[in-house]
């Protein structure tokens, strides 16, 4: 690993208190280009809040964020907005725009935020939708799509903005089991083509094979982090991560270790 190379995304010392409770305590992490890092941990541990702090949907109380080595100012509205264009986010509940077709969902930010022409925006949107396998659903509304299709549209929507980093907040948790694999296939594709991603998930089998690093968050702190092999296979070390994952293993019936 080149020690002089500036990481694509660097988070330092993020702290956030919500409703009187300290949700995040001094969280730091680094994403190099092409990384797929995974956040796991119990509910309420801060995974979702952390992701929303990274793209400044939630404003951290303390901490710094660096994109390609340059610090992002939390205060300058314009900087925040253009920073968000570089960070894509996939939500657990999809959050598609209900009043727009799939094509419009993907193209609206291109037209209104990036100020592309209608023709260019539609071209790009069509391309992204075909890439996630929904080329035949361009004119369907969210109400007419299955959960897996909705999530793939939201991935296309995020990708159309050419983000440097993609944040995924439990992308398959709201899906019926038989729809999960189609979304995971898309995510796998993205990772293999070099997309930098930070994903919160419970899908342990998926994570084990693809993630560069696993970060275990509990109580607002990163308790452990390391490559999957290290964290999940050392049975005599009895890591906290291993404990958590084996509980998940029982629940999901997947083979972790």
């Amino acid at each position: 690993m080149e020690t002089n190379k500036v990481p694509l995304l660097a988070i330092e010392g993020i702290c956030k208190t919500l409703g009187g409770k300290e949700i995040l305590r001094d969280v730091s992490l680094i994403l190099e280009e092409g990384d797929l890092k995974v956040l796991i941990g119990p509910s309420g541990g801060g995974k979702s809040t952390l992701l929303q702090c990274i793209n400044l949907l939630i404003r951290p109380d303390k901490g710094r964020i660096f994109l390609r080595g340059r610090e992002v100012s939390f205060n300058r509205k314009k900087e925040v907005l253009s920073f968000r264009q570089e960070i894509g986010m996939i939500f657990q509940d999809f959050n598609l725009f209900d009043h727009l077709t799939a094509l419009d969902n993907v193209s609206i930010a291109l037209r209104k935020v990036k100020k592309m022409s209608k023709r260019e925006a539609y071209e790009r949107a069509r391309m992204e939708l075909e890439r996630v396998g929904l080329g035949d659903k361009l004119n369907h509304y969210p109400a007419e799509l299955s959960g897996g299709q909705k999530q793939r549209v939201s991935i296309a929507r995020a990708l159309a903005m050419d983000p440097a980093v993609l944040l995924l907040d439990e992308p398959t948790s709201a899906l019926d089991p038989e729809l999960i694999s189609e979304v995971l296939a898309v995510i796998k594709d993205l990772s293999e083509s070099g997309m930098t991603m930070l994903m919160a998930t419970h899908q342990m089998g998926f994570v084990k094979n693809l993630a560069r690093e696993i970060l275990f968050i509990e109580g607002g702190r990163i308790i452990e982090q390391g490559p999957p092999d290290y964290l999940l296979n050392c049975k005599d070390r009895h890591s906290r991560t291993w404990d958590f994952c084996s509980k998940l293993n029982d629940f999901y019936g997947e083979d972790v270790a």
Binding site: L57, G88, M89, F94, H99, K112, V113, Y141, A158
Partner: protein, 222 residues
């Protein structure tokens, strides 16, 4: 009762004069009432502590008291403070304030029914607050609020008849004048009723057409 010339020579022309006044009451009241409703509804949904409370108080008061009382206060009461409004003006102001309160209820409901996640998604794509409001919230809120606000305007068509009580002679007023003069209350008011039925039916048909035109799957009537 079936004396046709009575209708054609006396009733219809007078009622038509009244109809013109009714229409001149309805159009400004409906449009401005909707504008007021949007402002108050947005205040109730997004306003800070002061503005949302103010807006809610306004809506509660105007929905909790009869329109008749409001009109009386505007026309008969304000002179006590030295403010003299014409019957027409008092009626229009009363209609705007009252229907604005009802509209605000539908608009507030429409805005709040939009899933918050969509706002998050818009922000995460880099939309500014204005952009989110304009491109994401407003198009959906209009569709959600349409049945309620449309119905409110239809109510306005009917309640415009109350302008007569504060001496603004519109359709109903003209009817009363003719009926009192000729003692033929039943006939005259059946015709008056018919006029309103036509107005209301036309408005309902238009509203249904508008709802169909703006229909998007997933936005069915709640």
């Amino acid at each position: 009762m079936l004396d046709l010339s009575f209708y054609t020579q006396q009733v219809i022309p007078a009622l038509n004069r009244g109809l013109m006044v009714t229409l001149s009451l309805i159009f400004p009241s409906a449009t401005l009432g909707l504008v007021v409703g949007i402002i108050i509804g947005v205040m109730r949904a997004f306003g800070g502590r002061f503005w949302s409370r103010f807006a809610t108080a306004y809506a509660t008061i105007f929905r909790g008291t009869p329109l008749v009382v409001q009109l009386f206060i505007l026309y008969f009461g304000l002179p006590n403070l030295g403010i003299y409004l014409s019957p027409y003006l008092a009626a229009v102001i009363g209609f705007i304030l009252c229907s604005g309160a009802y509209h605000s209820e539908y608009i507030r409901g429409a805005i709040l029914s939009i899933k918050r996640g969509q706002v998050l998604a818009a922000q995460s794509l880099g939309f500014s607050s204005w952009g989110t409001l304009l491109h994401i919230i407003v198009p959906q809120a209009i569709r959600r609020a349409l049945p309620g606000c449309g119905n409110e305007i239809i109510y306005l068509i009917k309640y415009s008849s109350l302008a007569y009580i504060i001496t603004c002679i519109e359709l109903t007023g003209q009817g009363k004048i003719i009926a009192t003069r000729t003692f033929r209350f039943t006939e005259v008011f059946l015709v008056v009723g018919f006029y309103y039925l036509v107005l209301v039916s036309m408005a309902t048909i238009f509203l249904n057409w508008l709802e169909r035109k703006l229909y998007i799957p997933g936005f069915g009537r709640s």
